[in-house]
Symmetry: C2
Amino acid sequence: MSRIVRFHQTGAAEVLQIETVPEIEPGEGEVRLRVHALGLNRAEVLLREGRYLEKPILPSRIGYEASGVIEAIGSQVEGFSIGDKVSTVPCFSQTKYGVYGDWALVPARALAKYPDNLNDIEAASIWMQYLTAYGALIELGCLTSEQTVLITAASSSVGFAAIQIARRQGANVIATTRGEAKKQTLLDAGAHRVIVTDQDDLVKEVMAATAGKGANLIFDAIAGPLLLKLAKAAAYEASIFIYGALSLETTAFPLQLALKKGLTVQGYTMFQVTDDAARFARGKEYTYAGLKDGSLVPVIDKVFPFEQIVEAHRYMESNEQKGKIVVQVS
Amino acid sequence: MSRIVRFHQTGAAEVLQIETVPEIEPGEGEVRLRVHALGLNRAEVLLREGRYLEKPILPSRIGYEASGVIEAIGSQVEGFSIGDKVSTVPCFSQTKYGVYGDWALVPARALAKYPDNLNDIEAASIWMQYLTAYGALIELGCLTSEQTVLITAASSSVGFAAIQIARRQGANVIATTRGEAKKQTLLDAGAHRVIVTDQDDLVKEVMAATAGKGANLIFDAIAGPLLLKLAKAAAYEASIFIYGALSLETTAFPLQLALKKGLTVQGYTMFQVTDDAARFARGKEYTYAGLKDGSLVPVIDKVFPFEQIVEAHRYMESNEQKGKIVVQVS
């Protein structure tokens, strides 16, 4: 008998309940982990609220990212042994395989061993952020060292990952944040310029940072009315990747600017990496290489104990974090 | 002294005036053509109305596509001789170089010799349509024989060009048209399936034609509320190229579908081909090859005499045409 987190109705953080249930034996292609740490993602807040791409099947498990050790292996699983230290790549249904708990059943294809130089906490903070940023910036966006990347809402875990990947490519990196509070952290994290959107003129600042050319690749988590500004700040034939919808307002397509500049606006999720075997393999390789050479370093904001899972979710919703929120399980 | 068309104010077709003016000698990098035929484009209607990407400088010349012979050559022009039969590629400012008239000054880089198997009329009906469709379908869209392309408002000259190019690539071709009237013509032109949007359910029809997968590449001249339907009819990771704005309504970005399917929505104009030397060269080569092997055949709807330039514009605005409207000058 061990603890897992479930919710029986969608809603605010309090719907998350810690329940004691018997472990399930892994089936074909599955393993069971003894979980050490959990990385939190906005996708989990959205699932809990019933606003995610996937709808929860109640009562629903929840959670994408865990680090831990393999304690049971189902049939048809190759390349893993009991006792292996692994973390999970979020390429499964949370509602079926949600990892919040002392144990988690996950498909073996979602497992990745992690480098020895990472601890449990860091190991739970790798895959969502780096594969999400990798897919847009590298795999689909083909970012080069001659280009400028603009990263909005950059103090999220994915934002920091994008800054690090863009720096690894040698690109010019502009990050945005709402208030002054996170500016220095973003500069320290590698952004060449930080735009504080509450006080700065985004379009003017981007143009000043690019000799009037605009940003070639824009990595945006916000959408809504911001898209028009992003189109104004975009270079000729720029790509705007939208991977989130933090703005709950309608998103108008900036048609005239898109025609004039040949702009591409692309909806994007990390599944475009993990659902494609070749991209997935390249993304893992890229991430391992970056973790090893020190260009990719998970930025951890705060670690909560497992009993405070509700507080951890509330903290994510406060938008005060700078980097990854992690929950220590054991 | 020869005739040219100018307009002294923006507005309806009647603002086009035939005026007699002296010829201008070509300057550096320019040639003067004796014009035989003019191909009409919606871009010219929009310029005349003051709604084009480029604003007219009044009084403004007008016109992108002419066929004719070179009668004078300026300095710094290589590869062309007086008497060469050429047509113009619309890679210049209409308001400076507009070609409607007995003569037209054009930059030499906009000239292309045309194959002997084309007459004057056909030669004025090549470049806008084929380079526009080529850029989206081939250069940026990388259309393959395994894919389905959906072409909206397909009975325009660009629409027919897109059908022919898509067939040349071996793709599955779906065309849309508003009413029943043009359906057979589109089937005859090579569309595998024609959706009559006044009566058919676009999304259902596309899904039926693609075993439920949707269209991989969508080539759209309409935008507005149609974009949401196109997103529904799109395949996973489809590209939607918008090259026109026939709908005058606001275009909402279909964010949820774009995230779910990884959709790309791209503003696109032919200038993305002609402003890039390598793409331009490949586009011309592709078009010449297609004209030669018979896979690309300009579809001519109607030929007006030069004196009826106003009527020719009105006819374009009627949306009754199926293919290119041409004006015979001499």
